[in-house]
Structure formats: C-alpha cells, structure tokens
Amino acid sequence: MAASTAAASSTTRRSPALRSLTSRYAILAWSGALWLIVWFVVPILWMIWDLAASQEFQDTLSFSGSERTVNLRAFRNTFETAAIVTILCLIAGYIVAYFLVSVGPRVRIILMSLVLIPYWVSIIIRTYGLIVTLGRKGFVNETLIDAGLIEEPLRIMFTTNAVYLGMVQVLLPYVVLTVYTSLEAIDDNLFTAARSLGAGGWNVFRKVTLPLSLPGVYAGGIIVFIISLGAYVTPALIGGPGDIMIAQIVWINATEFGQFGTAIVLVLPLIVVTLALFVVFNRFVGVDRMLGTGGTAEQR
C-alpha cells in the first residue's frame, strides 16, 4: 500500500496510463505481454511479411481468387452467427445471473456449480453430448416419440439452429459470470431506496438493476462475440453443410491446401475486428471491468 502510494506520488505529472505502465508492479503485466508478443504478435507479423508477396495472398486480398464467393459467405455467416449467439447468450445468461443473485447462498452454490462444471469440461465432449441428447435417436426425440407427441424424429442436429444451440451452451457461462458479478456488486440499499420512492418491480429493474449491470452485459457480450468469431469445433461437429465459419476455411487453407497466404489474409479481419471491439469497450466501460471488478460506472 505504502509502496504504491510512493510510486504514484513520484510520477504524478505523468498520465494515468503511462503511470500504470511504469509503476513497479507493471513488470507483472509486462511479463504477460512479452509472452504474447513473442508467441503471437511476432509470428503473425512474420507470416504477413513472409507471405505478402505470394500469389494466393495477393489473390485473396484482391478478392480475385477462385474461392471468393465461399470466403465471403463464410465471413457473413461468421458475423451473423456470432451476433445471434451473442444476443441469445445475453438474454439467457442475464436470466440465469439474475436468478443466481436472488436465491439464498446455499442454492446459489449449487446453481453456480451447475454453471461452472460444464465450463471446465472440454468443448468437444460437450458438443458430442448435444449430439447424444438431440440426435435422431437421441434422448429428446425418443422421449417425444414415446410420449406420442411426434411421429418422426425432429431434425435438430446438423442445422444452423444446432450451431446456435451448441455455441450458446458452450459460451453461456461467460455471460452468467460477468453479469452475476455486476449484479452482485450493486448495493442492496439501492433497490430498497428505489422501492421506497415508489418504484414497483419492473421499474426497479428498468431504472436501477439493468443500467447498473450494463458493464457486465457489455463485458459478457464482447467476450462471447469475440470467441464466436473464431468458433470452429461446434459448427464443424453439429452444423449443417451451409454453416461454414471463417475459422474452418482458414484451417482448411492452412492444413489441407497448404495455402498459408490465403489463411493469413482471412484471419486478419477477425483480428482487426477483435482489437477494435476491445478499444471501443475500453473507451466506454474499461477492460478492468471485464475481469470481474464489476460494479457501477459512477460509484466513487
């Protein structure tokens, strides 16, 4: 405590950002950053440098390659899927998080485990779990047929909807956790105050709960959107033939066709969009909030 105060006072004339980069604890951040620079930033820059002159790099960049339509479709599909999955995750995750903060501590621990345990299970295992549950001879279809509600099994797997379902199932915990942290950080007195001032349940939610939990909503939304942009496993395993995401095309180009030039060009838009989202988010909410400090925009 004393050390940080001393460090802060010796650098008071510098901007807060600069100060945080030069404080004595910044070495912790820098060590992480160094790791990313060496193993992520440098290889990508090196690949661009190395492949920029290649034919396929030029072709893909100028959209004159033979896979032009396929690539464009994959991009549109990727962003559309990411957007829909994000919205679905936010709605479902908010409801779960809201429920979590409103139950007693004992029930909360149980429910929290139900959210977290799948989160720690491999995404592939979970996706196969969905096939077992929702496939033609899966649990859901068998039950519905036995109950006489349907005659033919529903086609749920290997459709676009299956991709949404699978991705929401995988990504939901991110929203639950960020929104839960935001909701949990709101002072209970604010709800009592709002009610004492005449607000019923809906008004309390609309005017107090929702605005104060927005940092968690933004954080969860951005995390889910960014991860969805790079989704690969779920669409490949349970999507239909039309559900090709850009990550799959990148993978095919790099490993099966050996066209690293094409792969790197297709990756670039994703990286740019991801970084842009981070910048915008940091501008309006602050990345530190994304990491669970939660709380409220104007509080002290």
Binding site: T192, S196, G198, A199, P211
Partner: protein
C-alpha cells in the same frame, strides 16, 4: 457552506405529517433473535421522534418495519390511522434517508431527485420545478447535472434528503443519516435537519446511537435496548429523569452509587452506601420511577456536572445541611479540557465517581492525591433500580 435561513417550502403546510402507531409489534430473526419485542408506541403527527440505542437494540429493524423492507411477525403498524403491514413498500409513500445515502450512482443529482416524481408520472415541467424547489431547500441549487460521485459526503447527504422529501411523503425515516460525516459537519447538518423538519411539518422517525445528536434534534426520544423501549420522553426528561441505570448511563455521563434503602419518609428516601464506612445519601421522594422497599438494593444516580468538590474539612462528613449529599473522597486524576476540569475521584467507601467543574475565578482546583468532599444538592439525586 454558509448557513442561510431556509426558504420556506411553498407547499409545506404545517400538520402535513401523519402519526405512527405500533401495536404489539414483534420481529424475530431466526429462532433465537428477537430484534423487536412486542413494541407498542405512538409517534405524534409532525413529531421529530428519535429511536436511540446501542447497535443491536432493534432501532434499525423498527425503522425497516415502518419502511416495509421487513414485515413484522406479530402486531400492526398504523400510519395516519391506516394499517400498513400488508401494503407493499412502493405503495407506502414513506421517505427514507439511508445511512450510506443509497443515491443512484448512474443518475445525475437531478435524475435522483426526479426519480420518485417520474414514477408518479408527473409532467416534465412540474418535475423540473419540484426538483428545483427541493434543491433550493437543501441549498444545492446548481448541482443538477453532477453525479453523486462528484459531490462531497455532506452534499450527498443533502441530495438523499432532497430525494426523500421530493414526493412530499407525510413520514420520513432517517437511519443514522449523519453517521458518515465528520463532527463539525454533523453539527451543522443537525441544525439544517431541524430547520427542514420545521419548515416541512412532516413526521420524522430518526435512528441514531449518538445521544448528543438525539438530544439536539428530537422532540421526543425512545431509548431502546434489546428490542424493547426502556424509556420515552423529551430529551430533558430522559436526561434528567432516567427511568433506569441503562438510560442514565446511555444518555451522558452518570455516576451510579450502589446503595441500600434504610428509611423512607415524605421528605424522601434515605440510602446507605455499600462498603465501609457506610454513608447516608438522601434522594427526593419523587425522584425515581421506582418505588423502593426497605432494605432494597438500588442506585443513587448523579450527573458529574452536579458534583461540586470542596476541600476536606475537619468537621467530618455526613453532617450536611440536609439539602446536600456529601461524600469524602480522594482525587485520583484531574483532566483539563479547556473550559472545564474532569475529576476522577474515589470515595472513602470505595466507589469511583466522575465530577466535572467549570473553570472559574475563585473556584478551588485539585490535583491527584488531594482529599476532597464531593457535594451535590439532594434534588439532583435519582433513585434507580439496580
């Protein structure tokens, strides 16, 4: 922050407050904790009423029962004659000022104060006018566009008060609203609250554990302990005629001298102190809420300010004029505090007492080790149950 006289609220009509009645109200937490124990009490319309007690005495619980944040297990609370325990909190129209103010951090000062008005679907122009009015009342005009985090603690307190009174509730609850402020500001705010209460004419139920604050602000005080009311009365009554030793020591300094009743007459009660030598103390007959039987163990209570110290004189103790109680004692310590000297003395029979004497020309001053006579008028002695 200069204190200028408060502009009278143009809408404030005196007698706008409503009375509050508690009928056998009980609130338990779990199986063992009885936070409020069969409480019956009537608070007058327009009264500034304070619930005073140590933490855990049930005062905040009582406030939350009126607010509606809690429901009583037994009994009924009536506001303006109407039972309210089954009315949901947002339909009670009771103003509340929280200890941590509970201002909405994402709203400007204007929006905070406009909150109850917007909920009531008041017209925009009317809302603007009313917010200006109450901001003027708490002397914060011009702060409309600030956020709560951008103003000081004292200003946050006043914004919270403005928000609580904006919708003109007939009853305002305050839970240690000045507890987070420093002493100087607190005294200033006490004055403001008193004036505000007078100009609004509403009923105020105020919770505090600060006895000075309670006495300064209140029309009446209820001293609470363990979920029960020990005494209700004006600040003067509870201070000068405490019902028991708890009330006596909670409100200001009190010397409690353990004694035994030896004689009762129309003139008063005669007590003998415990310990050797047993000294005789007199207490006026009307000076106690209790009637003590012969030989009963009691306390003789006297405030430190009432005790006068004089040099020990050879005539010996106990031969007073009948108008004073006298106890020979030795000064243990003397603390100088600018305007007065606070003495800690030990009587010859073994009680430790405090005496406070103002610093004046010609008044004798003592040092540790001096033999003295502690002397006070009989009329300032109180008989309390032990």
């Amino acid at each position: 922050m200069t204190a200028r006289p408060l502009a009278p609220d143009p809408r404030a009509a005196t007698g706008r407050g409503e009375n509050v009645v508690f009928r056998g109200v009980t609130k338990r937490f779990g199986d063992e904790v009885v936070a409020v124990d069969t409480m019956s009490l009537e608070i007058q319309a327009g009264e500034f009423f304070t619930l005073l007690g140590p933490s855990g005495s049930g005062k905040s619980t009582l406030l939350n029962l009126v607010l509606g944040a809690l429901r009583p297990d037994e009994g009924e609370i009536l506001v303006g004659g109407e039972p309210i325990t089954s009315v949901p909190i947002h339909k009670r129209n009771i103003g509340m000022v929280f200890q941590n103010y509970a201002l909405f951090p994402h709203m400007t000062v204007f929006k905070n104060i406009a909150f109850p008005l917007g909920i009531r679907r008041m017209a925009k122009a009317e809302i603007k006018q009313r917010v200006e009015e109450v901001l003027d009342l708490v002397q914060l005009s011009g702060f409309e566009n600030r956020y709560p985090s951008q103003v000081s603690g004292g200003q946050q307190q006043r914004i919270a008060t403005a928000r609580a009174i904006a919708a003109e509730p007939p009853l305002i609850l305050m839970d240690e609203p000045l507890g987070a402020l420093d002493v100087k500001l607190r005294v200033e705010m006490q004055e403001q609250l008193r004036l505000l209460h007078r100009s609004l004419g509403v009923t105020v139920i105020y919770v505090t554990h600060d006895q000075d604050e309670a006495m300064t602000l209140s029309d009446r005080i209820a001293v609470m302990r363990d979920g029960r009311i020990e005494q209700v009365g004006t600040p003067r009554e509870v201070y000068e005629q405490p019902a028991n030793s708890f009330v006596a020591s909670f409100l200001g300094d009190a010397n409690l001298i353990a004694a035994r009743v030896v004689r009762q007459s129309d003139d008063g009660v005669e007590l003998a102190t415990r310990g050797e030598p047993g000294m005789v103390l007199r207490v006026p007959s009307d000076a106690g809420s209790m009637t003590a039987g012969l030989d009963e163990d009691v306390y003789c209570m006297v405030r430190p300010q009432r005790i006068d110290l004089t040099s020990a004189h050879p005539a010996g103790p106990g031969d007073g004029d009948g108008m004073h109680n006298l106890l020979p004692a030795t000064v243990e310590a003397a603390y100088f505090s600018g305007t007065e000297i606070r003495y800690l003395i030990t009587t010859d029979h073994g009680d430790s007492l405090h005496a406070i004497s103002a610093i004046e020309e010609g008044r004798e001053e003592f040092a540790a080790g001096d033999g003295v006579i502690a002397r006070w008028p009989v009329e300032f002695s109180r008989l309390l149950s032990s």
